[in-house]
């Protein structure tokens, strides 16, 4: 495995298999009375978050602590960044304290790559702008693999705000590495402009018509992944009204009925109930949304373990 996890490009299909194998063991540890493993005892990890986050940050924190690492959370609000310190100075300052790993989220695409050039400790990208969110994609694939047995040949529909979604960008890479077919659905205004070359690839399709995809126009759908409408990035007038978005692209009660019984529903959270996903779908028996959260801890434990526990590989 490479030193950093900045993008799904950094892991091979074999790496993913090893991560999933470890994550399955970590999942068992989650159910134990004593949830600590000593693998990262004496290591210090900093969660450096320049953007808001609840589940990613807390699950990285729990993952680190269950592996016995010391985890420190730093958010940009209330740190020196708000006093005008540069990104470079901030990360060099925190690493100078002697940390062993950095988990970072930043609103700028490529921020984690940039930081990885400056540091010689492993950097884990916890979301960079509209670029990638590799641990989310890994936990999504892990959740689906546990549920479906394998992703080989499965057809996954990803629906929602693709343009702004780093979750989508990481997911199409990981799903492709695991042999799944992907159909992405979005309103024309939220379809990324660079999607053309991808859609030419085998096993990948784009559509503006959610009902058609759910009806099986691109083959039976084995899993549905809803993406969040990112209200904070919605100043551009991408769709006329929220109501109109729901009618065209929400997983409504009616569309829920179009799915084959047992089709898993995923959402990376936080959900806008009533906008991209109806409460019926979010709370459906086939919804794996809470499984994703518990898988998040297990997968992040696996990532921290593989990047931080072993011998120093140099780099």
């Amino acid at each position: 495995m490479k030193k950093h996890l900045l993008s799904i490009d950094d892991v091979t299909a074999d790496d993913i298999a090893a991560l999933f194998e470890t994550a399955a063991e970590m999942h068992d540890v989650q159910r134990r009375e004593v949830k600590k493993l000593p693998a990262l005892r004496g290591r210090t990890i900093i969660n450096l978050f320049f953007e808001d986050s609840t589940r990613t940050r807390s699950s990285f924190e729990i993952a680190g602590k269950w592996l016995s690492a010391d985890v420190i959370n730093l958010s940009a609000k209330g740190s020196s960044t708000s006093k005008g310190e540069s990104l470079r100075d901030t990360v060099l300052t925190v690493t100078a304290m002697g940390i062993d790993g950095l988990v970072m989220r930043h609103s700028a695409s490529g921020a984690a790559h940039q930081v990885a050039q400056w540091l010689d400790v492993p950097v884990i990208n916890a979301g960079d702008g509209m670029h990638e969110h590799p641990t989310q994609a890994l936990l999504d694939a892990y959740t689906l693999t546990r549920h479906l047995g394998t992703l080989e040949g499965k057809h996954v529909a990803i629906i929602g705000d693709l343009t702004h979604s780093r979750v989508f960008r990481s997911n199409i890479k990981s799903l492709a590495k695991l042999g799944a077919r992907v159909t992405v659905v979005a309103p024309p205004t939220l379809m990324p402009s660079g999607v053309g070359p991808w859609s030419a690839r085998a096993g990948f399709a784009t559509s503006y018509d959610l009902d058609g995809v759910l009806a099986g126009e691109y083959g039976p759908v084995d899993a549905v992944m809803m993406l969040r409408v990112q209200k904070e990035r919605m100043s551009g007038g991408y769709f006329p009204t929220a109501r109109e978005y729901t009618v065209g692209y929400g997983l409504t009660r009616g569309r829920l009925a179009m799915l084959q019984p047992g089709t898993p529903i995923l959402h990376p959270g936080p959900m806008n109930r009533g906008l991209e996903i109806s409460p019926d779908a979010a709370d459906a028996a086939d919804s794996l949304i809470l499984d994703q959260v518990s898988a998040g801890v297990a997968v992040r434990m696996a990532v921290l373990y593989h990047l931080l526990a072993g011998e120093e590989t140099g780099a």
Partner: protein, 187 residues
């Protein structure tokens, strides 16, 4: 595949399949004798080859007592003190029998007892999993050179070795055939 070549490059055979079978039968009886029956016993095999050995010992005990012994597996990867000096590998499965280990007599089973560090890691792992009333250790081969104050309660064979020698245990379940061999040393 026919018989693997257990001589030549594969080293000197110190225990063949019949020796291994006899040693395990004896260990099964010793465990029963020491425990005065199979009551409250839990066998935990250490990955990789301790797991099939634990199953064989459990089968031996079941043959004598007529009742199955809860048998599981324990992976100690995350508890090792040498994690930093090896590339990381995915941990194996830890499977604790349904009744748990609280208040039980846990017998750890491994193939070779050497430095004792694996057993130390296993003891740490066990204390995170519950509180057995006692923990015992059964090994197929004790080759000496302990680095920690740890000893085995049941030993298949004491095998004096030099540190430069390599003891290799092969089992039908993992390697296709049963044999314990020694290679290397004196050159």
């Amino acid at each position: 595949m026919t018989e693997p070549d257990v001589n030549g490059d594969e080293g000197r055979v110190v225990l063949d399949d019949a020796d291994i079978a006899r040693a395990l039968t004896r260990i099964s009886h010793e465990i029963l004798e020491r425990n005065k029956g199979a009551e409250n016993l839990v066998l935990l095999g250490l990955h990789t080859r301790g797991v099939p050995l634990a199953r064989r010992i459990a089968a031996g005990i079941a043959e004598v007592e007529g009742t199955p012994v809860p048998t599981g597996s324990l992976d100690v990867t995350m508890y090792r003190d040498d994690l930093r000096s090896h590339p990381t590998r995915a941990p194996h499965k830890t499977e604790i029998p349904a009744g748990g280990i609280d208040g039980r007599i846990v017998v750890l089973v491994d193939d070779v007892l050497y430095s004792g560090r694996t057993i130390r890691a296993a003891l740490d792992a066990i204390s995170d999993l519950g509180r057995p009333s006692a923990v015992r250790l059964a090994v197929l081969v004790d080759r000496g050179h302990r680095e920690l104050p740890i000893r085995a309660d049941h030993v298949g064979k004491n095998l004096p070795t030099a540190r430069s020698e390599k003891v290799r245990v092969r089992l039908a379940e993992t390697d296709g055939a049963d044999a314990v061999t020694i290679t290397g040393g004196t050159e």
